[in-house]
Amino acid sequence: MVATPEVGPPGVGHPEAEFQTQDLLLNVGPQHPSTHGVFRMVLQVDGEVVRDVIPYIGYLHRGAEKLCETMDYRQGIGFMDRTEYLAAFNAELSYVMAVEKLAEIEVPERAQWIRMILCEMNRLSSHFMFMGAFGIDVGVFATPFIYAWKEREQLIDLFEEVSGDRMMYAYFRPGGLAWDVPANFKQRVREVLESTKVGIKDFDGLLTTNEIFRARTQGVGYISAEDAIDWGMSGPSIRASGVNIDVRKDEPYMFYDQIDFNVPTRTEGDVYARYACRMDEMWESVRIIEQCLEKMPDYGPIMPEKMPRMLRTPPGEVYLRTEAPRGEYGIYLVSEGGNRPYRLKVRSACLSNLQALKDMSVGHYMADAIIVLGSIDIVLSEVDR
């Protein structure tokens, strides 16, 4: 586990030689609970202080982009689920919207409202997952994890009622939805939302104002707005540094322009700010869902009337991005005509966020490097694709 670096022993006879310390290389992962998946980093530590971080990724690389080139548009949806498995609705959404834009398909209004509700609920479930796992990183042991799991379970039950699956939904289709939602959809969403609100409040009480939690997270893992932009970070991780970018506001897709919501930002740029941004975002998501429920029509088509049996797109290319829980999830789709992508590239928010890990953790204690990693909320399956 511990290897000596190649710096070698200090020269004998040098006046400062006796006081020189030796840096250690410490391997973390790939099979380690605090790395949130299969992620490996080599920390160069001077005593307890991190001097350098070398991340290694690629353990979960499955070649999803290449596989999508061999499958038709409908088959590609499943691969998108498996990239961002904690927020699969959001991942599907980018993909189907890219296909729709290229093929010039108009999506029925009701289908769009349902998509919005599901995506925001998925954001809630994903942030609950973050809160629970982050609590463990910080050292609050199982309490927040179980609390988060309880709330997330309710949301996932609802997703299962709608799509038939707990995590890999494959429910969105180019043009609309695979099938209609159950008749009691609105009522169920309201029920789940009530329990979610209680859950968020619980978390606020457990962590946000907890003095030990604050002492552990405030002032740790700072990244400035300029650096965050330069590294291409996105999502709550960049908004915690005071950069107000959110695709839902910048380029409203679906009906986000008809909804009244705020984009929570912070200026501290530390681990606590990234946590707090997500916490505020959860309240905003609740607000968005409540407005969507008001505006969503009870009846109406969920697919356009004329959809071809085999979807073909004209030649062209499109870059489409949406705001997933971890940041900007982009799909770059190149078509040569025909029923499959010529090239499909997934722009992973986590990959860009992870690049900044070194900047955030150098100079901190080793235990803090773990919570810095936790605070950017990576999904390795999205990083590696």
Partner: protein, 180 residues
Amino acid sequence: MTNENTEAAAPEELDLSGTIWAEVDRVLSGVTARPEPGALDLIVHIPPDEVIMGLRRLKTDEALDFNYLRSLTAVDLEEDGMDVVYHLFSTNTKQNLTVKTRLDNDNLAVDTATTVWRAANWLERETAEMFGIRFNGHPDPRTLLMPEDMTDTFPLRKAHPLAEIEILQGEGMGYPEEGE
């Protein structure tokens, strides 16, 4: 340099109203740049030897201010070479721009964009190992997603078959040859 004479006729035929082409054209004066016809969003083509200069100008210009590299990737066009595609964004003006550069199959190399945005670091490493494109001057030219010793096969090239990956990974892991 040749922008005014040879390329100036083409943009006027395209309908670029409502896009930021006029601004981009102003910033890229002196760089051979032309917009792609028929694209859904504005796409600017710049030859590989000038692309980094062009990108740096797009970043440093105060009006356009493309300070955010969102995505960097490549597209294999088989006999036509390869396109390296840069997706830019400005966090201040919220504008988007796509820049492309066409590489020849004989010389799959372009200067690194890490000198413009640090975000290009991993994205270029990934593009290099997947397509076999060399990014000159890259500070950390290791593989990113692929095994360290897998530097001679480029999985995202069109010429690379899906099943061959398994054959290359080790004997006995690939599919049996026909007739065996």
